[in-house]
């Protein structure tokens, strides 16, 4: 660098000064950093102390919700219909599982789960929404539960819990009435973000009373605060707040009668509704065949689900509230009330020559009844009389009385859905079919055919109102101190005339003479009905020769005792061919049970022997037959996997069967929980 000015020559002293200055600068800088560190520390521990304390606590403390014990459902006498049983279970929380195959493998070894179960758990883990618990197994023994609990540190994501499972002692007999429970769906959780919903073992009502009164029965969850290490090892329990059990729901149902009615329907497809004539309490509300709510509560297998939905007796439909049937002749009491109200003298005689001529159309009667007054027309179920009188008073009066008696109405019951049915009139037909009301419509309606559609529950309400003369409102929840229901807006003698005709039906020269109560001093009054399902020419309409599903429905409404009605009953047997043959005996036996249970049970036991056992035995047998058939029918070319599954299932069922004959319907031995099936059933509701 010759061109540039020579560097400044520094003396030793100058350099020493430089050093001193720079060392002081360095010291100051170090002190400054020290201050920054102290300030940072003060910021973290003072200004942000609250936030970090919270984070530290949430690290330290693990809050586990304890699912509340669900409220019981009991009958009017306090007999349990739905209760809780202690059980040990283990679930997997997908979000917390780090090594799926290892954790599932260890659990499977501990619990002796087979290969299929492992597959199911792995598949469900993959499909689940992360926070949704996947059930590994329910109904563990205490030893298994303890074995998993002590291995928690190596089983990341596993959640063993001691919980309660729902148990319905009467099984299928109460299926449609109380519904069933199941794990909350992802949609439920998204809606409320209530962590209780994703707590393993927590169940919500999915159908029936369980669903509608879920909030009352749910209760409040307890919580367990535990101190845990970063690896999930429990250090100690800090505090436990016990759960608050849900409310017990007391129903108006008489559990004994409910079970009796369900069993008495037997192998048929039908329903029976019994109402207390003094206050409207529903004593029985059965629809058969049904599903076993116990097997739904544990999650239902694909096979079980398929069996239920394939059944032409519709076990998944609550026929008592959602089945719609033409009432047939059971409607005649309403026509009888209407015509009296319109001023027709009940003693006026109509001559039945086997039918009624309207223009060039002939409306047939079931017989040639000769001279008929109101009383005998009810007893004999003479169509000609009701054609004549119905046409005279007109549809509006009939429809009005039908409405007063409860047809076409919905009742305030804690059930998810009821159907209204149809009580047609001129205005309705114009609106619905854009057609004029015709005289033949009036004739058809007068005898309970045509556009009329009612539910068995409505029929039961109707007959309870006829029997009591009061505007009874049906109810399912037991309450005290309700005001006595208002009398019906008809002169009592009109209603009495109808009742006397219904007395004659059973106890006189009527259509249901075979269904008299075998009791001293207690008479059953009623009315049979046979509802056409399809119009057949001539006399073939109710024969055995036609396919089951085209046969007529058999209906019966009744009350007892005739002199001072206490109970009212409605029974509908689908495709039962006649009311007197199929429905009236069941209604009569239900009444018998109310007055003399022992005698009724004796009769039932005899009948069940001929049907192949009680409901549980028959359902198990049916399930096995179904599986065997499905296994045989499965086509290996198109659905090899399905066939394999079905066979495995059938084999398992056989094995279970051989191991423990006779097989009771055990919820513990049922099949894997199946979310798909759950979803379908939710849609089906």
């Amino acid at each position: 660098m010759p061109n540039r000015k020579p560097p400044r020559i520094l003396s030793e002293a100058q350099q020493s000064l430089t050093f001193t200055r720079r060392a002081m600068f360095l010291g100051a800088a170090q002190a400054g950093v020290g201050l920054v560190l102290a300030g940072r520390m003060a910021w973290l521990s003072v200004a942000e102390n609250e936030r970090y304390s919270l984070l530290s606590e949430s690290n330290r403390v693990n809050l586990t919700l304890i699912p509340p014990r669900r409220g019981w459902i009991v009958d009017r006498y306090g007999k349990p219909i739905a209760i809780n049983r202690t059980d040990f279970r283990v679930d997997l929380i997908p979000d917390r599982v780090t090594d799926e195959s290892r954790v599932v493998g260890t659990l499977a070894d501990l619990l002796n789960l087979d290969e299929d179960e492992r597959e199911r758990i792995l598949t469900e883990l993959k499909d689940a929404a992360g926070y949704q618990p996947v059930q590994v197994s329910g109904g563990l023994t205490y030893e298994q539960y303890a074995a998993i609990s002590v291995r928690m540190p190596e089983l990341a994501g596993a959640a063993p819990a001691r919980g309660f499972s729902r148990f319905y002692p009467d099984g299928a007999a109460v299926g449609h009435l109380v519904g069933y429970v199941g794990a909350a769906s992802a949609a439920d959780y998204e809606k409320t973000r209530d962590t209780l919903l994703i707590t393993p073992g927590f169940k919500v009502g999915k159908a029936g009373i369980e669903k509608v009164l879920d909030a009352e029965m749910r209760g409040k969850p307890g919580a367990r605060r535990t101190e845990v290490t970063a690896r999930g090892k429990l250090v100690r329990e800090l505090a436990t707040r016990s759960d608050v059990a849900g409310q017990t729901i007391k129903l108006t149902i008489d559990a004994g009668l409910q079970a009796f009615a369900a069993r008495r329907i037997g192998v048929q497809s039908g329903c029976a509704v019994v109402i207390d004539c003094t206050n409207g309490d529903i004593l029985a509300l059965t629809s058969m065949p049904s599903y076993d709510p116990n097997s739904f509560s544990d999650g239902i297998s694909q096979g079980e689900w398929a069996m239920l939905s394939d059944n032409d007796h519709l076990p998944l439909l609550n026929k008592a509230m959602q089945g719609l049937y033409p009432p047939g002749s059971t409607f005649k009491p309403i026509t009888a009330l209407a015509l009296q109200g319109a001023g027709v003298d009940p003693e006026e005689v109509v001559y039945c020559n086997g039918g009624y001529q309207l223009g060039n159309r002939r409306f047939a009667c079931l017989g040639r009844h000769g001279p008929m007054n109101l009383h005998r027309a009810i007893a004999k179920s003479c169509n000609t009389y009701f054609y004549t009188m119905g046409r005279r008073i007109g549809i509006e009066k009939i429809a009005e009385v039908a409405g007063i008696m409860g047809l076409g109405k919905e009742f305030p019951l804690p059930m998810p859905s009821q159907k209204y049915g149809t009580v047609p009139d001129a205005e309705w037909k114009q609106r619905r079919h854009k057609q004029q009301w015709s005289q033949s419509d009036t004739l058809n309606t007068s005898i309970g055919q045509g556009y009329l559609q009612v539910t068995p529950l409505q029929l039961a309400v109707m007959v309870s109102r006829v029997a009591s003369g009061r505007a009874l409102e049906p109810r399912l929840i037991a309450r005290r101190g309700d005001a006595a229901p208002q009398p019906l807006p008809f002169p009592p003698e009109h209603v009495a005339a109808v009742r006397s005709g219904m007395d004659e039906v059973v106890n006189g020269n009527g259509t249901a003479g075979r269904s008299r109560l075998q009791l001293d001093g207690i008479r059953l009054g009623g009315k049979t009905g046979t509802a056409q399902v399809r119009n057949f020419k001539g006399g073939a309409r109710s024969g055995y020769g036609i396919p089951w599903k085209f046969r007529d429905h058999g209906l019966f409404i009744g009350f007892a005792p005739v002199d001072n009605p206490r109970y009212a009953v409605a029974v509908v047997i689908e495709h039962g061919m006649s009311g007197s043959g199929a429905a009236a005996p069941i209604a009569s036996d239900c009444m018998l049970y109310l007055f003399d249970p022992a005698k009724a049970m004796e009769k039932l036991t005899g009948l069940e022997a001929g049907w192949g056992g009680d409901i549980g035995t028959r359902m198990t047998a049916e399930a096995q037959a179904y599986r065997a058939a499905r296994a045989a029918a499965a086509d290996p070319a198109t659905a090899a996997a399905q066939a394999e599954a079905a066979q495995a299932e059938a084999a398992a069922a056989n094995a279970a069967n051989m191991a423990a004959p006779p097989p009771p319907p055990s919820p513990a031995a049922t099949h894997p929980a199946d979310n798909a099936a759950h979803n379908v059933i939710e849609e089906a509701e």
């Binding site: 360095l26 560190l37 003060a42």
Partner: protein, 371 residues
């Protein structure tokens, strides 16, 4: 410093102020390690205490070594340690994986740790030898730059970013104190601002880059790589002013705080002793450093001045980098808190610093009445 006359002279001549500060830090550390082990001497507190006593003895021995020895040994020491560094690198290469130490059976030597000291001694010696007039010449710059660059590069290869940075920082400190033109440092800082992003993308390992990214936003991955910083801040923040109390730290006892006895031991302490404990510890460290820097002002000779200020700053870098890391002000680099963290290497390095500093103080003490 002189004590009452009944104290034996060699004892009275010891720099008690420094020894008491160091002792306070180490004993406080033992208390924290005792708590971190759940209230047990094992596995940490006992062996750490033993180790500390050995190193105190070593420092006292070192304090008897006169300044002249270090002057003479500066270059050979540097070269020897550089050779060891290369050896470690080769061994690591042969062994297939990164290795940082040489196992001599009795003791494990971590040459990169020793290099932090050797670089200060070597550069101090270099500027000591450099004629006064040459300080603004090129020849005052390039040899130290090479002397810093080579070991730093080797350590970076290990890979140990924290130690490499400390070697560079220690070297630069000596260069700065030696009186190199200020514009070099200002310009260097500006150049660093340009180079840093480039280095970030091309020189750093993936995991190192990741650490920097997570440092910038630890909450982005609270359960993964940001876990250390998050949990450490939770521990410090939840301690509050007075702490949760001795043996009551949940973050450390329940294993939420990783490395709670080594690199993150400050967080373990802060959780139980709070802001009060933290400030005391920071103050103690700053006073130790200040002792060294003040010493550099008192002593004669360029070598002694540069060494005492340089070694004090080395201790400072340890503390500052570690504390910034545990408080979320710097990325996670594996620098322990000297004397406080469980482990021998950092304690050894710092106790050697302390020993050399005491030796320099002793060599430069004006001959007093005991002279």
């Amino acid at each position: 410093m002189s004590g009452p006359s009944f104290v034996p002279a060699p004892l009275a001549q010891l720099p008690w102020r420094l020894l008491m500060l160091v002792g306070f830090i180490a004993i406080f550390g033992l208390v924290v390690l005792y708590s971190a082990a759940g209230g047990h001497l094992k596995p940490w507190a006992f062996s750490q205490g033993l180790r500390f006593m050995v190193f105190v003895g070593m420092a006292l021995v070192l304090s008897r070594i006169p300044e002249q020895f270090w002057k003479a040994a500066a270059f050979p020491l540097y070269i020897g340690i550089l050779v060891l560094l290369i050896l470690v690198e080769l061994l690591g290469f042969v062994g297939g994986g990164s290795q940082r130490w040489l196992d001599l059976g009795i003791i494990r030597i971590q040459p990169s740790e020793m290099m932090k000291l050797a670089i200060v001694l070597a550069l101090a010696r270099f500027y000591d030898l450099l004629p006064v007039g040459d300080i603004r010449r090129w020849r005052a710059i390039w040899p130290p730059a090479v002397a810093i660059g080579v070991p730093a590069f080797l350590v970076m290869l290990q890979p140990d970013l924290g130690t490499a940075l400390m070697i560079i920082a220690g070297g630069l400190t000596v260069m700065f104190l030696a009186g190199l033109p200020l514009r070099l440092f200002v310009g260097g800082g500006a150049a660093l601002a340009v180079i840093a992003p480039i280095a970030f993308f091309f020189l750093l390992h993936d995991y190192q880059r990741n650490r920097v990214l997570i440092f910038l936003d630890p909450e982005s991955d609270p359960l993964g790589a940001g876990y250390h910083i998050s949990q450490s801040k939770i521990a410090i923040g939840s301690g509050g002013i007075f702490g949760k109390g001795f043996l009551n730290g949940s973050q450390s006892h329940l294993d939420y705080l990783p490395e709670g006895h080594t690199d993150f031991v400050f967080a373990t302490m802060a959780e139980e002793w709070g802001l009060i404990g933290g400030l005391l510890l920071i103050a103690a460290f700053i006073l130790v450093v200040r002792w060294g820097v003040t010493l550099s002002q008192r002593v004669d000779g360029k070598f002694a001045r540069l060494v005492s200020a340089g070694l004090a700053t080395t201790i400072f870098f340890y503390v500052a980098i570690n504390l910034m890391m545990v408080m979320g002000l710097a990325p996670v680099v594996g620098i322990p808190l000297p004397l406080f963290s469980f482990g021998g290497s950092a304690m050894m390095t710092v106790m050697i610093c302390v020993g050399i500093l005491m030796g320099i103080e002793r060599s430069n003490r004006p001959r007093g009445r005991f002279g």
